[in-house]
């Protein structure tokens, strides 16, 4: 019992205390409130102050970050919104807390279902941000968002309808460029395969 061990711990704490000032001095003003500063405070060799001063500073989120789903629409030539969703219901079926409600559209004349949703609701109070809907959507129509600042004053405001959920394709490609690029390649390949499958069929018919 010499107290040496205890002193070495105090020294460790003191070293950290000093390091915060040393780091601040070394990096200067750029350490705070700049994108590079935030990035430098998340590196594996970081010393000194570690925390991010939210909301003045915000941690950049990685591409895979998931927070609440949204519906992707493609913009037509005249500015109309063309939802990719076909209301197939896979997202509603796979959703673990069952927070997705979908009403299919029926053709008013024939009564047959049309592949677009009439209503689409997500209760974001219940959503657990698991991302399974986006993962298993066969049409790349529902994707996970990056926007996590969504507080509202009423509970009713937390049931999102189609209007609130729809976001343009350009937004999606902006937040998830790598995923988007991979999906586009897969889509083109699929179309090429389809076209290739069709081509030999045509001459046979013709013959």
């Amino acid at each position: 019992m010499t107290g040496k061990g205890f002193l070495s711990m105090l020294f460790g704490v003191f070293k950290r205390f000093v390091m915060t000032y040393v780091e601040d001095f070394r990096k200067g003003k750029d350490r705070y409130y700049t994108a590079e500063g935030i990035e430098s405070r998340r590196k594996a060799d970081v010393d000194g102050i570690f925390t991010i001063q939210y909301p003045e500073e915000k941690l950049p989120v990685p591409e895979e970050f998931r927070f609440l789903p949204f519906l992707v629409y493609e913009e037509g030539e005249n500015g109309e919104k063309d939802l990719r969703c076909t209301s197939c219901g896979i997202c509603a079926k796979v959703c673990p807390p069952q927070c997705i409600w979908i009403v299919r559209t029926n053709d008013p004349v024939t009564g047959k279902p049309i592949p677009e949703p009439k209503e689409f609701y997500i209760d974001v109070d219940i959503c657990m941000n698991c991302g399974l809907c986006a993962e298993y959507c066969p049409f790349d129509a529902i994707k996970m968002d990056h926007d996590y600042e969504i507080a509202s004053y009423t509970r009713e405001g937390n049931i999102y309808g189609i209007e609130r959920l729809s976001k343009p394709l350009s937004y999606y490609s902006g937040i998830r460029p790598t995923n988007f690029a991979a999906e586009e390649i897969a889509r083109q390949e699929k179309e090429a395969m389809k076209a290739a499958a069709k081509k030999p069929a045509a001459p046979v018919e013709g013959a």
Partner: protein, 579 residues
């Protein structure tokens, strides 16, 4: 004498022994042995004393409603390693009475209470068969298949109301309050006094009273709202002066019936729910559940996926142990400054989890037959920087600051001693068991994934006190580091998923038990499938819950101030204890 060699890696065919009292379970997809309730004690005693199955890991029940049967399932292991011996007892549903194994294994204590609470199986001879997870005024046994929760909608998900009808609205509006709550008959909330609570206080007062000196013990409630309990957790302690003479934990404040939710879910839907068990190490929870379902499905993830899985599991272990050092400091009284040091390291690992899985804590990353997505570009380099540079350095820092620190040593050495016999008998697992001198690590004892190919040591310390628990975790974090270095070096390229990703997996009928060495101990998932999209029975053998059985043994005879330290050293997460 036959020439056949019997090894530890085999489970003996005990149906040939015991004069026909034990029969092999021949249902398709099932394994193990069925024993009559009247012979259970005799068979288990012989298995423990003569066959070496000295570790009762899991006790649970299954309600086979269509057959009118209640089945109790026991998983026994040898602490020298090897697979499980599964014993089952079948009793009629209406009068489910099974002899208690309390006298043979103390690990049965809380698990039998849980089975009584949730399934209504009466364990004859259990000295303290109170409800454990639900409250004492609860009506019914919720895991029975004919019990329905307050907001019951359908037996299984997906619910038909979501698609294609799409009836929006709050679920509780279909089911107004008062109509959905059941009480026991004759229950009046104003006058009701819990008999179980009364009994608990009475037994606390009874112990340690000195008739000659007319001294009395003081009964103290620690918790449920107390910063030292790491959540909502209560301990009823009787004190003789400063000494603890009696201590009973009271749990269940965070109970949400995870298992009932699991039985309503489809197999895949359940994956994100497992994150919420031990929310500090969600990747390990995913791992155990994925293993259990993969065993049933009979699939194996590809090589790269195995490496990614092990990488995530070991990062989790490292993070969890460093986190526990922070809490050790905290519980010793240096409030939150050192805790932040631990959180710093954790933050860097959570950044990796976020980049890989999309979420820092609720990762939901494993899928049956692989992982959800491949490592994004740059992540592997980041992990390399951490495991070769920062993580070993930080562990040495912690070692320097804690291991020789006189305050830490004086408080921790000799505090909360758990002997090897007690640890095995109490069903302690993970660092708690290994700190007591039992070198039992599932990664070596019953290897899964690629652990049999990796080079690492099973950490063991022999004093069984708080300090050895800390040392075990420290060394284990170093071993995790060592595994990580091998994994990032050897990780192959290739696919990350066996078969096509499917939102509805086909799981053949049968049972399976998947267990992993989670940072806190043995995490097991017992699943019974009937071939439908939802599991018939889904049980979690959670390490925190069963490790807490040992708390009383650790604290008895010690000072009240050390209770906080002992609890911290068990390393619990209430999300997993209360499920």
């Amino acid at each position: 004498m036959s020439e056949e060699k019997v090894t530890v890696a085999q489970v003996p065919d005990i149906s040939l022994q015991f004069d026909g009292k034990v029969t092999t379970d021949t249902r398709p997809g099932y394994s193990g042995f069925i024993v009559g309730a009247e012979n259970l004690l005799e068979v288990v005693k012989s298995l423990r004393d003569e066959w070496g199955f000295d570790y009762l890991s899991s006790v649970t029940g299954v309600d086979y409603l269509p057959e009118g049967k209640m089945e109790v399932v026991y998983h026994l292991y040898r602490t020298i390693g090897g697979p499980a011996l599964v014993l089952k007892v079948q009793v009629p549903r209406d009068e489910a009475v099974v002899p208690s194994l309390y006298d043979l294994f103390k690990s049965a204590d809380w698990q039998e209470r849980e089975a009584w609470d949730l399934l209504g199986i009466h364990f004859e001879g259990h000295p303290d068969l109170r409800r454990i997870l639900t409250w004492e005024g609860f009506a019914g046994h919720p895991l029975r298949k004919d019990w329905k929760e307050a907001y019951f909608e359908e037996e299984t998900k997906p619910y038909k109301s979501r698609w294609p009808e799409g009836q929006t609205g709050y679920i509780e509006s279909n089911n107004p309050f008062h109509d959905n709550v059941q009480y026991p008959s004759g229950f009046d909330p104003d006058t009701w006094i819990s008999a179980a609570e009364e009994a608990l206080y009475a037994s606390a007062k009874k112990i340690g009273r000195d008739e000659e000196l007319h001294t009395d013990t003081v009964v103290v409630n620690l918790g449920p709202q107390h910063p030292s309990t790491h959540g909502v957790f209560r301990m009823v302690a009787a004190l003789d002066g400063e000494q603890v003479v009696f201590l009973k934990p009271v749990v269940g404040y965070l109970h949400r019936n995870h298992e009932k939710i699991g039985e309503r879910n489809t197999y895949l839907q359940n994956m994100p729910f497992t994150d919420r068990l031990d929310y500090v190490s969600s990747m390990s929870n995913n791992f155990g559940y994925a293993l259990a379902v993969e065993k049933l499905m009979g699939i194996q993830p590809p090589e790269r996926a195995e490496y990614i899985r092990v990488m995530m599991a070991e990062l989790t272990r490292w993070m969890n142990h460093v986190f526990s050092f922070g809490f050790l400091w905290n519980d010793l009284g240096s409030y939150f400054t050192p805790m932040i040091y631990a959180l710093e390291e954790r933050e860097l690992i959570l950044d990796i989890f976020e980049a890989v899985s999309g979420s820092r804590m609720m990762c939901n990353y494993f899928r049956f037959g692989g992982v959800a997505r491949d490592l994004p570009a740059g992540v592997l380099d980041k992990v390399k920087e951490l495991v070769f540079e920062r993580m070993p350095r930080r562990l040495d820092d912690i070692d320097k600051m804690l291991s020789t620190n006189e305050i830490v040593r004086n408080r921790c050495i000799g505090c909360g001693v758990l002997t090897a016999e007690m640890a095995i008998n109490n069903g302690a697992s993970g660092p708690n068991l290994r700190a007591s001198g039992v070198p039992y690590d599932i990664r070596r004892a019953d290897p899964y994934s690629i652990y049999d190919r990796l080079d690492f040591d099973v950490v063991v310390h022999y004093h069984g006190d708080v300090f050895d628990r800390y040392l075990t975790r420290l060394d284990e974090a170093r071993q995790a580091n060592r595994i990580l270095q091998q994994v990032v070096r050897d990780i192959p390229e290739g696919p990350i998923m066996t078969g096509k990703p499917a939102y509805q997996v086909r799981v053949p009928a049968g049972e399976s038990y998947g267990r992993v060495e989670a940072p806190k101990g043995e995490l097991g998932f017992y699943i019974v499938s009937t071939g439908k999209p939802n599991p018939w029975r889904y049980h979690v053998r959670s390490p925190s819950f069963i490790n807490l059985i040992s708390l009383e043994d650790m604290c008895r005879g010690g000072k009240i101030a050390d209770v906080v330290l002992n609890l911290g050293a068990v390393d619990i997460v209430l999300g997993e204890v209360d499920r």
